[in-house]
Symmetry: C2
Subunit: 330 residues, 2 copies
């Protein structure tokens, strides 16, 4: 028999997961399957978010194309940084955001809005698919599909095998994750919860287009709210890695029959995951108080990223997932 | 072998459904299961909405309790109408709304907000469950579970048997439908889309409560928007019964491989469904133009409501559904 969660080292985190799953699935007190709800943050929880999140790579590509069409944009941030490949500017914007200064992040958010505003949702979906087919992670030089943490992929399958329904609950753009959620994570498109620009129905054209404002910023205290709006139940398992996940983790672990996992990025980088606490200081400080299980990348994971041997055999977008083929256009 | 859709008469509507389902599920051009998305309006499509929608019965009960606690409320509408059991006032409010005059409907909406504001979502869920256990449809004198149109129940099961995923997309309160969607319709709680008062996370109490404004009014042009937000794909089958369903029907039937059903309430009332066109005038007028299949309650349905013989055997809330047990508290 294969060892469950093979990329997890023996230790308190793996043990807590196996014990929890057994406790809610076995015996006379087993929970019915519809109550086995698990929620996962995405960036830094299910896949690598350093040096810059996938989302930023995607929008930087779009901004570079916009500057080609309109060179005057280059006089402003974040367009200049996009064209100059000044990743340090973006990293600083994220760090300043975590420190409470949103000046540069506001420029980023405005530019994201400006890029998607008035675009048809199906066009955006197709562009996102094309991005994943074409691009590789800039630092790891591998397709984005292979930046998914191998132990978390195993955890998703382990939960699924035990009757859980898993949802993605990300601060990132919902519509950038949906095209690959089934293929990369085995999470169906309608179980993806995330930030979103409001969509409008154009009755004359009978089409859906993005409007000019964010409808949802799915972070912090909004995560429990969006879980309730989309799922309708309190989860019994949550996994996150940052202060923005703390409300979701607390909301989930309010029940005694629950498990909250906090991924701690404490590895040295040699296996593909940077060491960082920034943006997670409070969550790490309060983990004990809220009964969270801290997962050490260094100590709890024997492998971090999937083997790349199989990479040349298939291309992202071509390989059918075990559960679903890649989603069609909306 | 049992005849498919037994409560549907032979005729163009039944034939269109069977032909469509076969065409997307069989042969080399069959659509993958994840693209077999069907969306259903609720009031007047899946269950009886006359003389007043279930939702109104529920809030009237709540307002009567509020007046008992604060008799001064009775000087105002809709509290007076609630206490006096003046259903005609509510019917007029709905008719005026369809005619473009929202004066009384605004009073109703404000009172709904005032009733739920600051309440915990799990308390509301429990009250809704209790309502369905306790109350009977006032005109039909039967439990609400047995006001579900039998032919539509059969259609939901037929679609499910053919790999479809069915969503409820209602203008009514999402959180009043969720407690019974699995039991009454076989539709899981996370496939319920509807109008909703915004929810807020109270970090100190680690609880979710309703705020003081509607976040979503899931009607008209908002229906395609909410479908996209929750499902992420364009449905291939939609069923509705009113002008408020027309954008959802048009959005769905834009694709040539799709089916739009418009339930036409043209029966004489003897079988439990009133005859009415109010609120559906435009949809009926434009049905041909948009290629919708009009379902005549009179001609296409051999039975309208389920047999009540089995009623005494079980109580709502006790009977496990074929798919799911009733949902737990959120």
């Amino acid at each position: 028999m294969t060892r469950a969660l093979p990329s997890w080292n023996d230790g308190p985190a793996r043990e807590a997961i196996l014990r929890f799953v057994a406790s809610v699935c076995e015996g006379p007190d087993a929970l019915p399957e519809e109550e086995r709800i698990a929620v996962f943050d995405n960036d830094g929880t299910l896949w690598v978010e350093k040096p810059v999140p996938t989302q930023l790579h995607f929008v930087i590509d779009q901004w570079r194309a916009e500057v080609e069409a309109d060179p005057s944009l280059k006089e402003r941030e974040p367009y200049r940084a996009a064209v100059d490949r000044d990743d340090a500017w973006f990293r600083r914007a994220i760090e300043h955001h975590h420190a409470g200064d949103d000046h540069d992040m506001d420029l980023v958010m405005d530019a994201i809005l400006s890029t998607v505003s008035d675009r048809r949702v199906d066009e955006y979906h197709a562009e996102a698919m094309e991005f994943y087919r074409r691009e590789r992670h800039p630092a790891l030089d591998r397709p984005y599909e292979r930046t998914v943490y191998q132990p978390m992929h195993e955890l998703l399958r382990h939960l699924e095998d035990h009757g859980f329904t898993c949802y993605l609950v990300s601060g990132g753009d919902r519509d950038l994750m949906r095209p690959i959620s089934a293929e990369y994570y085995g999470i169906p498109i309608d179980q993806v919860i995330g930030s979103a620009v409001g969509v409008e129905y154009d009755a004359d054209a009978n089409e859906l287009r993005y409007g000019g404002r964010f409808e949802i910023i799915d972070d912090g205290t909004q995560k429990p709210v969006r879980i309730y709006a989309n799922v309708g139940r309190r989860p019994i398992l949550a996994a996150g890695n940052s202060d923005g996940d703390l409300p979701m983790l607390r909301y989930t672990t309010r029940s005694p029959r629950s498990l909250g996992l906090l991924i701690h990025h404490d590895d040295d980088g040699a296996r593909g995951d940077e060491a960082y606490d920034i943006g997670a200081e409070r969550a790490l400080r309060e983990a004990d108080e809220h009964g969270l299980v801290v997962v050490s990348v260094k100590d709890d994971w024997s492998e971090v990223l999937p083997d790349t041997d199989a990479e040349t055999e298939t291309e992202p977008g071509e390989r059918p997932s075990p559960q679903q083929t890649p989603s069609g256009a909306p």
